[in-house]
Structures are given as C-alpha cells and as structure tokens.
C-alpha cells in the first residue's frame, strides 16, 4: 500500500517516505489505462510522457536503494547477509550449468567461426583484439545480463508482486522492518555480484570452447599463441570496465524488476503483462548502459 499514488498520505519512516514519493512520481497507471488519443502527435506525447515518468520513478527508486545500501550497511546483518548469499546463489551459482552450456554454444557458434574466418584471410594476428572486443567487452557481459534478466528478473517481478498482493510489505512495516532493506537490497547486491561472476565464467568458457572449435577445423594456431594474443590485447581498462559494467547491469536489472514488482498492486492477470514490461525495460536499460561504456572505451582510445 505504501507504493500507491492514492496512499500519498501514508508515511513510512525515513527512506520509505521517499519510496512513496518515488512511486507516486512514476504512477503511470492513469496514462496507461486512458483511452487512445485522437491524434498521433498526442499518442507520441503520451508515450514520451510515460517514458519520462518511468525514468524518473526508476531513477528515484535506484537512488533510494543506493541510499539504503550505504546507510544501513551492517544493520541486521544476521538477516540481510544470509539473504544476500541466497540471492547470489539464485542469480549466480544456480545458473552455472546454463552458463556452461551457453559458453560452449557461444564458443562453437561465434568464436570458433571467427578464428576460422580470420585464419582463412590470413588475419590471424588480429585474433586477440577481435576476441577482446567481441567477447570480453560486448557479447559476454550483454549475454550474461540478458540471461539473468530472463531467469531471475522475471522471478523478482512475480515474487515481489505476489508478496505485495498478500500484504507482506505492510506486515514488514508493522514489524519496523524496512521493505527496501529486507526485500530489495539483497536482490540488488546478489544480482550485481551474480552477473559479474557469471560474465567472467562465460567469457573464459567461450574463449576456451572457441579455440576447441577452431582446433577441430585445423586452424594453424597453438593454444599458447591463441591465449597470448588475447592476453596482450587486454588492458587494465578492460578489467575495470568489465567489472563496472556487469555490476551496473546487475544493479539496474534488479532495480527495474523490483520496481515493477512492488510499484503497484498486482492481480494474477497483471503479472504476465508487468513481467514482460519489466523485461523490456531491463533490456533497454542494459543496452543504454552498454552504449555508455562504448563511449568510455572510445574516449579512452
């Protein structure tokens, strides 16, 4: 109830008061439920307005969550830390088998073929930089983010929506437990660390299986030369930005999905629609973050 526009009179202590404001700002239900406008320009205006409201709501929610993470570091650690471990297991360890399979597929389908193609045109010396740009900088982090969004992000929307509709958020408030601290913070930290770790495994797996595929095609490249080229193409910026990018992916995917799960009361028939919207917005956010990091690479070069 603390997230309804209509419930603006509700106060919840400290950050929860801000949370109410964040959701109130982004209450787009009225616009979404309104009849179609008469002209295309009106429709465009409405879409733009909805987009800005959503950005504002998500931004406010992200800042509030960040504030709680910093301010309540160490508070109720016997509850929050096990919940963070649980979320790391869910958004990380539990997905390892799937990522192992995806790494193999990525290696066979993309890396192996690239190695083979470069060898045919005699451009094998560009292999390292190609692999770093394609797999380490772009494909690895984005693919990991999309897979976690699909597997765990949708579950976040459904779980939080159900918890809200069953009154669990009000029950937390009544017990003096901050819902952002208890429900959101573990998911955000778990997903950020989960995506970072899975991306590292995915990249290593894809590069290794890619060489395996190239080896089977008799590409004249020893494993030592292959990995030496990759290592030489990697700079400190690649490591730093890979970590930052994957953590940003995890943070914002968790924010988008948690926001949609908690922002409005969900009926059962709402869940699929809201989950789809959350996934779509998650994909858009990831692409925007990726674009931002490409700019950083370009600026550095």
């Amino acid at each position: 109830m603390f997230f309804d526009h209509a419930c603006s009179r509700f106060y919840a202590a400290g950050v929860r008061g801000n949370l109410t404001k964040a959701f109130e700002l982004a209450n787009t239900q009225v616009l979404r439920g309104a009849a179609l406008p008469k002209s295309y320009t009106d429709l465009l205006g409405r879409k733009l307005f909805l987009f800005l409201l959503t950005v504002q709501g998500l931004g406010a929610f992200a800042l509030i969550t960040l504030g709680v993470i910093l301010r309540k570091n160490g508070v109720a650690k016997n509850v929050i830390r096990p919940r963070i471990r649980q979320e790391i297991a869910r958004a990380g360890v539990a997905l390892l088998p799937m990522f192992f399979f995806v790494a193999l597929a990525l290696g066979f389908l993309v890396v192996g073929q690239t190695v083979s193609a470069l060898a045919k045109v005699g451009a094998i010396s560009y292999l390292g930089s190609t692999m770093v740009i394609v797999v380490v900088r772009e494909l690895g982090p984005l693919l990991a983010a999309f897979l976690v969004l699909a597997r765990v992000g949708t579950a976040n929307v459904i779980e939080l929506g159900t918890a809200r509709s069953l009154g669990e958020v009000e029950a937390l408030e009544a017990l003096g437990i901050d819902p952002v601290h208890y429900l959101i913070v573990p998911r955000v930290i778990g997903m950020a660390l989960g995506i970072f770790s899975l991306t590292v495994y995915l990249i290593i797996g894809a590069l290794a299986s890619g060489y395996l595929f190239a080896f089977m095609q008799d590409v004249p490249l020893t494993p030592g030369e292959y990995f030496k080229q990759i290592v030489e193409s990697l700079g400190w910026l690649d490591f730093a930005l890979l970590a930052l990018k994957t953590i940003a992916f995890g943070f914002f995917i968790a924010i988008v999905t948690c926001y949609h799960g908690l922002a409005q009361p969900l009926r059962l028939d709402d869940v699929s629609r809201v989950a789809v919207r959350a996934v779509t917005q998650g994909v858009i956010v990831c692409v925007l973050i990726d674009a931002l990091f490409i700019l950083l690479y370009l600026l550095h070069e």
């Binding site: 419930c7 509850v79 408030e173 017990l175 901050d178």
Partner: protein
C-alpha cells in the same frame, strides 16, 4: 515499560482517518479517543466502516488526514525511523495473519528478533521457543504458512506480534473465521494479556481489537466503540452495549437474527 504510567497509550483529538486504498476518501471524521494503559477496547463496525484503517493509523503505519494523534505522548506526524523504538512498542496482528510465505512458522515468529536485535537464527529460535510453546505452535514450527490451517496462521501472527514484547497490541478482526476451540482460546489469552501475563512479567498489555460480531466479546471488563457513518461512537462497557438502541449495534449483536430464528 512506559516511563509514565499516567500517560495515555493512545490519544486522538479531532482525527480524520483516510482510507488505505484511497487517501482522498475519509472513513472516520473528527475522532476523539483516549486509550489508557491496560485498557482492552473492542472497535465494532460493519464491513468497510474503517476498522482496519483506524488500526493502521493507531499503529503508526499511516498519518491522520487531520487532527492530532499521539502514541505514548509522541506526535505520530513526526514518527520516523529515529522513533523506531517507540514504534516497536506497538504490535500488530493482521486479519488472516499476513505471514511471510517463504519462511516457516518458527522463522516468521523469530524474524522481528533477528532483524531488530540482530540475533543469529539459533539465538532467535531459542528466544522464540517459549512463546511458541505458550501459543501451542511448537508442532508447527517447521511448516510453512501455506500448509497450516487459517486458525493457526492467525495464532502464529499473534506470536510474531508479541515476540518483541510490545506494550500495545492491535488486532484486526482476530476472531473472524475461527473455530469454537480457537475462539475460546483467543478470548481467554487476550484477557490474560490484558490482566498481565507472566510471560510479559505480569505487565498488563493495552489491547485494541476490531470486530464485526460483538457476541464473542461479551465481558464486563472490555470497553466498546462503534464505527458507523464516519463516526467513532464510544459505547462504554458491555451493559451499555446491550442496552444500546442503535440498529447497527443490534445487528452486530445479531439480536434480530436470534429473534427471527426463535
């Protein structure tokens, strides 16, 4: 324990209560109410009369639309995170329990201890064990709420509200849908809490419960009030309730129903 026993536990002056789902809609207007420590109040009313909204306001979960509300002498308009200690002096039992479905009954009961006092699971379980036994919940300790009958879920919610040993206990329609055995248990236990249960060191709890049927609450010690037509009407004790000529009170006492049955 309250620092000042003479200070009212709850005091409302000219309070307007807004609806939970629509803050622009007022469900109770100009309400004046004073609850002394140790009182046991039963707030009766029909469906959608604002009982839950009033209890949520009393718990400090929402602010009054107008007027002054003081909890332990503190204005709840400024009741924030800094006043968490004051807030934890109030326990709230939701209708239906509203337990956390992913936790077991024992974990639900221990959660406030773990979060507020940073107890480890073992420490919290040890601390909660006595209360679980008192409320006959021990056999259900490792079961999740979805696998427990509604009667027991409600009782688990009571245990969760009592684990931090609050001074005020607010119960939203606690007797709704209970079987006869559970109903008797609840009435007896609430009376024990109101008089001062040894588990709480003999300190009488201030209790406010809402009800849509007054018959089970028949007792001279309890104070009654009615929510009707956006008004808060204090009725007095049970004798006054029985003597009341109000049609709504008669309906809540099911007098007409009994007359028709005869």
């Amino acid at each position: 324990m309250s620092e000042n026993q003479d200070m009212p536990a709850i005091e409302m002056r000219g309070v307007n209560v807004a609806a939970m789902r629509d803050a622009s809609f007022t469900v109770v207007e100009n309400m004046n109410w004073l609850v002394a420590p140790g009182d046991l109040w039963v707030i009766a009313g029909q469906e959608h009369s604002g009982k839950t909204d009033l209890l949520m306001l009393a718990a400090g979960l929402m602010s009054p639309a107008a007027g002054d509300y003081e909890l332990f002498g503190k204005d709840t308009k400024t009741f924030g995170e800094a006043e968490l200690a004051e807030r934890l002096r109030v326990g709230f039992v939701f209708q239906g329990g509203q337990l956390f479905n992913q936790l077991t009954i024992a974990e639900n009961v221990a959660l406030p201890l773990r979060y507020q006092k940073n107890f480890t699971p073992v420490e919290a379980a040890h601390e909660a064990q006595a209360l679980m036994e008192l409320l006959e919940l021990s056999p259900l300790a490792d079961v999740t709420p979805a696998n427990v009958a509604a009667n027991w879920r409600q009782r688990a919610a009571l245990a969760r509200a009592l684990i931090l040993k609050p001074e005020i206990l607010l119960l939203d329609n606690p007797l709704a849908g209970l079987g006869a055995r559970h109903l008797q248990w609840w009435l007896r236990f609430l009376d024990q809490l109101s008089r001062g249960h040894e588990f709480f060191g003999g300190r009488p709890l201030t209790i406010v419960a809402s009800a849509d049927d007054l018959r089970p609450w028949r007792n001279a010690r309890r104070k009654f009030a009615l929510l009707h037509d956006k008004k808060f009407i204090p009725l007095g004790g049970w004798n006054e309730v029985e003597a009341a000529n109000d049609s709504i009170v008669k309906e809540l006492l099911a007098v007409q129903l009994e007359t028709t049955t005869r």
